[in-house]
């Protein structure tokens, strides 16, 4: 089906490729996923699939039942680099899975994914990734032949007595009121605006080497990444186009700590969710670069000390030893232990071949199913 819209019937459902005429229906369906605000969901859809720097045509599979949109699975384009000399690969990332409640437990998730895999195989795709799937998505993906490259090992630093946080945790364990645990009314002022303290500090730091800003500097950041070089492991391309797009995500709020002015010597990117999205209170370190270990450590220290976040988290699996040690010294501890014990969060890879067992599961000379061959950062995923 590719560019056309008719993969056909799957049982009682009709599965079609997305067309612009579907946009408002998809945005409405996405309110089950990201935000109850359908205009924000529409902005997210446009940003992710239509403004994507690597593909302008959304790759989204839609399931209709009696003319009503009841399920979807989206794939957004990404570009990866590896090896020396550098090889580049364009790879679709599976994301945005939504089924309306009345059609759950009716095989629909499987039917949509099967239609998608058949179509992607016909169109020459070799592998697809899933980089920030929920625990439900990870389990159902594994059942359909996806493989985990390995766990991303979340760590976090929690500071201060936080009655709001403790109250939410208590509510989550209670049968009838757990749905209210993420209510805005249960957030402390610092949680409603996690960057409030950092923003107040930003004006005081202008005389120092580190500046705190609300805007990305995609040209300077890309130049620094290019100057620092690459050890060859699988990583997402961080060129100007990607970075400029990445930080326009309407569901995310970012802050940037820079070392240097026109020519950067380092940067650190922090992110929290849009206030109307689920879990808006967490602040995450989504990317860190620097020309020396001391600059990287200074950027981390600035984020920790000037941000005064209730909870600051990161993925530690592929961090350099020196960064992991520094975060440990600063008090970061393994986080989300219940989910870690279940292998989540993780990088998932799927061969699109009709016979995945015969696939090599390699990009160039690098193993897709071994996280040691990845330089994985939250920035490359929708978690970041």
């Amino acid at each position: 089906m590719a560019g056309d819209t008719t993969p056909g019937m799957a049982g009682e459902y009709e599965i079609v490729r997305y067309r612009p005429a579907h946009k408002s229906q998809v945005a409405k369906l996405q309110t089950h996923l990201w935000s109850s605000d359908s205009s924000l969901a529409a902005q997210y859809l446009e940003w992710k699939y239509e403004e994507n720097p690597y593909a302008k045509e959304p790759v989204i599979y839609l399931a209709f039942y009696g003319g009503e949109l009841v399920g979807m699975r989206g794939f957004y384009q990404s570009r990866w680099e590896l090896g020396s000399p550098r090889e580049m690969y364009s790879i679709l990332v599976a994301d945005d899975a939504a089924i309306v409640p009345s059609h759950r437990n009716r095989r629909l998730a499987t039917l949509i994914m099967r239609a998608a895999l058949d179509d992607l195989a016909r169109n020459g795709h070799e592998y697809i990734f899933n980089l920030s799937g929920s625990p439900v998505t990870v389990v159902s993906s594994l059942a359909m032949g996806w493989k985990s490259a390995g766990p991303l090992e979340p760590i976090s630093l929690e500071t201060g007595l936080n009655l709001a946080r403790q109250g939410r945790r208590l509510l989550k364990r209670m049968s009838f009121v757990h749905r209210y645990a993420e209510s805005r009314f249960l957030r402390s002022p610092a949680e409603r605006d996690p960057f409030s303290y950092l923003d107040r500090m930003s004006s005081r730091k202008n005389a120092d080497a580190i500046s705190i800003e609300r805007e990305a500097r995609p040209d300077a950041m890309a130049e620094l990444v290019s100057r620092l070089g690459h050890d060859g492991r699988i990583r997402h391309v961080r060129d100007r186009e990607f970075l400029a797009w990445r930080f326009r995500n309407p569901l995310s709020v970012h802050r940037f700590l820079y070392w240097g002015t026109s020519r950067l010597e380092g940067y650190l990117v922090l992110k929290c969710q849009h206030p109307t999205a689920p879990n808006p209170t967490k602040v995450r370190i989504v990317d860190l670069e620097g020309t020396s270990a001391s600059i990287r450590s200074a950027l981390l220290d600035a984020a920790i000390d000037l941000g005064r976040f209730r909870e600051l988290s990161a993925w530690s699996a592929t961090l350099p030893d020196e960064t992991r040690n520094h975060l440990s010294v600063r008090g970061f501890k393994p986080a989300e232990l219940d989910l870690r014990a279940r292998g989540w969060p993780c990088v998932l890879v799927r061969s699109v071949s009709p016979r995945p067992d015969e696939s090599k599961w390699m990009l160039g000379h690098y193993r897709l199913t071994d996280l040691a061959d990845w330089d994985m950062r939250m920035l490359y995923t929708m978690a970041g």
């Binding site: 759950r104 437990n105 059942a143």
Partner: protein, 81 residues
């Protein structure tokens, strides 16, 4: 009730669209009869039975949990280990 009976009772409680004349060797996971939320609920139920977290990335989920017979074997093999 045996573990096998418990597995069947669990699956029947979900009101899934089951194949006609399904039995203990009918494919449930590979076929997609159990997917998404039901599959996640199955993992949570198995965790309750074996008394510890189950990491689905560490085994071939589609193969080992595909049938009632397989789920029963998995639970009995991991219970109390």
């Amino acid at each position: 009730m045996s573990t096998r009976d418990d597995v069947i009772a669990l699956i029947e409680s979900w009101n899934l669209t089951m194949p006609k004349n399904w039995d203990g060797d009918t494919s449930l996971v590979r076929s997609g009869v159990i997917d998404s939320l039901a599959l996640y609920q199955l993992i949570l139920w198995i965790e309750e039975q074996v008394g510890k977290p189950v990491d689905p990335t560490k085994f071939d989920l589609a193969s080992e949990l595909d049938t009632v017979t397989g789920i029963t074997r998995f639970v009995e093999k991991n219970r109390g280990r």
